[in-house]
């Protein structure tokens, strides 16, 4: 199952890509980038305050844990409208008495979910996930996305084709599952 996900990208002050991380996922563990050959990310539950469920059953039906993905691209754009349009927001980082600057942007990725997955109305929560593409957001051709696709060897996907790609892939998967069940 595939979906779209917005992730935070951080540069340092010499324009070198530093890290990619999840902006607001409290219940799933920190996102790390993974390419085709690289291992998929595994989710663990961090909800200490909620009733604890088994570590094996992540994501759980009664919890909010898992790696989130959206199958409705337009809804994702609405939710992250402000984040997506930010470009190089400077953030001061204190290292004792020295200070350095980091720059934050956001990029939209296509992720592939495997393992235990809970389907939702507009998306899913997954046990394992892996980034398989970067969206060229609004076909702007920003340097961020180009850099990401070069760095990690994943394709740039046109803004218009994202929704069709997600829908096609998920429908095909359903058909294959139905046939294999027969």
């Amino acid at each position: 199952m595939i979906g779209a996900k917005v992730l935070r990208v951080t540069y340092n002050n010499i324009n070198i890509l530093m890290r990619i991380e999840s902006p607001v996922q409290i219940y799933s563990r920190r996102w790390e980038f993974s390419t085709d050959n690289a291992p998929a990310l595994a989710a663990i539950c961090l909800s200490y305050s909620l009733p604890i469920h088994s570590f094996i059953s992540v994501p759980n039906e009664d919890c909010k844990c898992g790696i989130y993905g959206s199958t409705y691209y337009n809804l994702l754009l609405i939710n992250y409208a402000a984040d997506i349009q930010t470009h190089r927001v400077p953030v001061q980082v204190m290292l004792g008495r020295l200070s350095a600057y980091e720059y934050i942007t956001y990029a939209c990725f296509i992720i592939e979910a495997t393992g235990k997955t809970i389907e939702h109305e507009f998306g899913f929560r997954a046990e394992y996930a892996k980034a398989i593409g970067v969206v060229n957001i609004f076909n702007w051709g920003r340097p961020t996305e180009k850099l990401l696709s070069n760095e990690f060897g994943i394709p740039l996907i046109a803004h218009n084709e994202v929704q069709a790609l997600i829908a096609e892939h998920n429908e095909l998967r359903k058909i294959i599952m139905m046939e294999s069940a027969k």
Binding site: K5, L95, T114
Partner: protein
């Protein structure tokens, strides 16, 4: 991310030999305590001794 209400649980098969990243909980960054200048209050008796 708003993903609505849960519908159903499915299990998607993983490729053979596909690795996963080990589980790791993000640590809290240690608070930096400056070692200098040393703020030591000199007691009254200590001053008298000089």
């Amino acid at each position: 991310m708003n993903i609505g209400k849960p519908i159903k649980t499915i299990y998607i098969k993983r490729k053979e030999g596909e690795r996963t990243l080990p589980a790791r909980i993000p640590k809290e960054e240690p608070i930096h305590v400056p070692n200098w200048p040393i703020k030591r209050e000199i007691g009254v008796e200590e001053v008298r001794g000089r």
